[in-house]
């Protein structure tokens, strides 16, 4: 039972990050009907961007007092989101928009996105380094906040879950209530008609990328806090977040949140039955199974009808 609680908490932590990344996939899919293969690299950029700023700010001083923790968190989330958003904006400009203007077929978009993903990851490898063991300064010292039974709940886990939930709440409001959200939904529903209604499609697509990129970049910061950061860090979380998006119903933001949490939980619960090195295999197996039996996901696919 204690194991179960422990794994559930870990699963919620991981799952909330998957959900944040999955939102990027799902939003872009909603407006473009394309998988943004390079989103995992947007996530990675967010992690590196926030690391550089936070590291310059506080240096590797280890444990910080309460005030600094808040500062680090705020700065990290903001810089992560900013670098993720910037990367996503550039990505859309360079790898997607020229193809869209030429009316290229879908395969060309996919290949261009894969090329961009490859490029970004390897460029990060060159610029920063190709080691796999870079880690964030440890600000929180694995402090235990409280315990449920004998299962400890750590400060970091709480921070990640809370931050993710807050971000997701704001995103949901943004998509549902704001003018921008309305235009995103309109483009997703029917782009030509949306254009007739006076919506600037190019701008909307660009902004969708930026929003997805900001969430992914913030997730990159959170992920790097409890794991490590490397130029290839995007691959597994990215693929799994995509699986999560499909699981919840790609194109549907609430589905992505649900799918992310589900996948995080399934992955962690599986450790109770199988050795931990099989977790990655399980995530992919879940993806294949979902696609086989319910390709439209748990909540269905439409961004426009998410409300």
């Amino acid at each position: 039972m204690n194991d179960f609680i422990r794994y559930t908490i870990a699963g919620l932590t991981l799952g909330s990050m998957y959900a944040l990344i999955a939102l990027g996939y799902t939003l872009v899919y909603g407006v473009l009907q394309l998988i943004n293969f390079a989103h995992s690299e947007v996530f990675m950029t967010g992690a590196f961007g926030s690391y550089i700023v936070v590291d310059t700010l506080v240096g590797g001083h280890g444990r910080q007092n309460g005030f600094m923790v808040v500062v680090v968190l705020g700065v990290g989330l903001i810089t992560g989101a900013l670098s993720g958003a910037g990367a996503a904006w550039l990505l859309e400009r360079v790898a997607y928009r020229p193809l869209r203007r030429r009316g290229a077929p879908k395969l060309a978009f996919l290949i261009s996105a894969i090329g961009a993903s490859f490029f970004m990851s390897q460029l990060a490898g060159k610029l920063f380094n190709r080691q796999k063991n870079n880690s964030f300064p440890n600000f929180f010292d694995n402090r235990v906040l409280f315990s449920i039974g004998e299962a400890d709940v750590r400060l970091l886990q709480v921070i990640i879950i809370v931050a993710a939930v807050v971000l997701m709440f704001f995103l949901d409001r943004l998509v549902q209530k704001t003018k921008l959200g309305r235009s995103i939904r309109a483009v997703a529903e029917d782009a030509p008609t949306a254009a007739l209604m006076g919506i600037n499609i190019d701008k909307t697509i660009s902004r969708t990328f930026v929003i997805g990129g900001a969430l992914g970049g913030a997730a990159g910061f959170l992920f790097a806090l409890f794991s490590s950061l490397s130029y290839q860090m995007g691959f597994f979380p990215g693929t799994k977040a995509f699986a999560a998006a499909v699981l919840g119903g790609i194109g549907n933001p609430r589905g992505a949140m649900l799918g992310g949490l589900t996948l995080g939980l399934v992955e962690n619960w599986s450790v109770m039955f199988l050795p931990s090195q099989w977790t990655n295999v399980i995530a992919f197996a879940v993806l294949v199974l979902v696609l086989m039996f319910r390709p439209s996901g748990i909540l269905g696919e439409r961004l426009g009808r998410a409300a």
């Binding site: 790898a95 009316g103 290229a104 996919l110 894969i114 060159k126 190019d202 995509f242 090195q277 990655n280």
Partner: protein, 743 residues
Amino acid sequence: MNPALAFLRSDSGKRLGACLGLGVALALMTGATGRQDDYLYAIKEDLFTFHLIENLLIGVVVWLLFTFWPVIRRYLTRPGALGLLAGAMTVIVAQTVLGWYEPEDAKFSGLATLVGDTNGISALSSAFFGWLAWAQLIAVIVVGAAALVLRNRALFWVGAAMAVAAAIIASQAHKKVDELAGVVDHATGVTVAVWGYLTIAVALAIAAISTDDVARTREFVNAVLGWRPGFALGAAATALALYSLGVSSWFAPKSLNATLADVHSLFKGTSLAPIAVQYFIWLSWALVIVAGALVLVAAYFRSIILGIVGAAAAAVGLVITMISIHAITSLAANSENTYATKGPWQNLGDGAWWTCASFLALAAAGLVVAQSALKGRSATAADAAHDPSAGPRFLYAPGATLAVLGAAAAAAIFIPPTLEPSWQTALVTSIGIYMFLAIGLNVVVGWAGLLDLGFIAFYAIGAYTTAYLVGSLPVKPPFELPVLWAIPFAIAVCLIAGVILGFPTLRLRGDYLAIVTLGFGEIVRLVAVNSNGITNGPRGTEDQVPHPVINLGFVKFTFGLDQLPYWYLLLAVMVIVIIFFRRLENSRTGRAWAAIREDEVAAQAAGINPVKYKLLAFAIGASTSGIAGVLFATNVGFFNPDNFKFEFSILVLAYVVFGGMGSLPGAIAGAAVLTWLPEFLRDQVPSEDRQMYIGAVLVIMMIFRPAGLIPAKRRATELRGHGPDSAESQAVPAGGGLGGSYA
């Protein structure tokens, strides 16, 4: 509005911004490598030094090229322009990248320093390596460019003459250095530079004669090839053979470079087979002259019989040449003196192999003559004039395809022995294997239009199947097989794996398929990493996978560490696969694939079962990859899951896309170029950075030339898109909002 601001908001200004962005990207790409102790180190080094300015200048040059493209294009399409450009690039590459002096392993600049430090060097050499090399290149380019701009015939001739003189100066200057040092130098730099200058000379000479306003390279090439089918190839082959017989090195153990005549005196009085003795005195010349004359006369008179006789004579010449070179090398292998070779076929000079290649090409030329004469004596280049509906075909002259194939076969068979061992290794382990994989992936992506991102998984399955069957894994098979017998099993296992993966997923949309195959590729790799008991985990194969043995009863050949035999094995399998795919492409199946790729619903309505055909493509691609896996496993002996990372799937995809999706020659050429280039630039570009450039190449190709290097006929029309009106070809309408802004 402020004029500066207005400029920035204009299309040209935006383009300048993009080009400066390109400059920044280039600065980051080519700059310093990061450090773990200081994450900002590389960025600081790249962006706050002179390095950034250099790359921004490149960006500005690109912007100027874009902005003045209509003007530049007018000059570039003039006769001779492309030749001048290509030749100049060749010389530049030769003088920056290639080796110029083998004993010191020096490039041009290295040799220049050496020459500067040496006394008693000839005036020509010291001038050439001091300043003349670059000065003459610039002079040739300036004169050539001036001739192009002014369209002055005399100036063209002056440029051509200067290029020839430059070629002579370069070769003489280099020769003098070698003579002074008294060494044997196999460095390629000077040869390539001379070829570059000769290219310029030929291009400028053609431009001087030409009366056209625009270059018609395609028409010119086809006119040459089609004038008398087979003549051009025959003449080139004869010339190469005569050159090899007269000048080139035939026998090069240690520090010897013996020409044909030297070989004769070297082996005088030994127990050399009589036919080889005669060969080195006169037979070689006689064979070349007879076969060459027969083929050329046959080509001129379009005679079927003479063509076949010429081909037969060339074949006889090839056999006798091979007997003779085998005789000298095996004799020398058993001798004790200083000219002992490492074994039969070893230590031969370039000339020996070039002569073999020439004979093969001559035989091909004879067949070209016979074939095109059979097709109709009246067929000329003019008759077979380019049919515009045939799509973007480069070679349409009668017999041209066969002639190119013959030349390619001669090169593929007889050039590799002249390469250095490191290049032979590269040829097999990276170029050959990846060509094979690209051919396989081309079926899946190019023909059936299924994006497979886990292609390397089948390669891994093939390799592990082989390792299992020969008993190199911890789990032992019921009976151990010789390694080449693993091929059918690998094909079968990969077929089954392909069907198992494909059956449930091929009903899905294209992008889902991509991600599922990606997942599958990772699952295969992770299983290989994690199942210690079966695959020996990350440590890789337990025992060596044995090298193959070919035993046909009368001949027995054991492969070893020498890479060359693997190349021939690979080539043989590849040729079989290519012929099979070639037949498949235009069969019912191939057409079904094209139909599904272009419109699945319409194809279904026409009675094609998409799942069945997609599955077939998937399985065929998978089994090709499996064969490549077998050949890889037996070549390297030991391998581990790291050989099958996700990156490699992307690399193969990049090769197919770069070459031209759906085009078999494209896939081969794409893989060849993109695997050759990094090997070629090994000293210039860190090997870890290759993948970065590959990624950039993918994006750029998709933006500017989605159909690839050698576009497939059917595919080219499709990838060009259907303009902004057609809804089904786009993800989203291209126009911005109320439209018209980019119309």
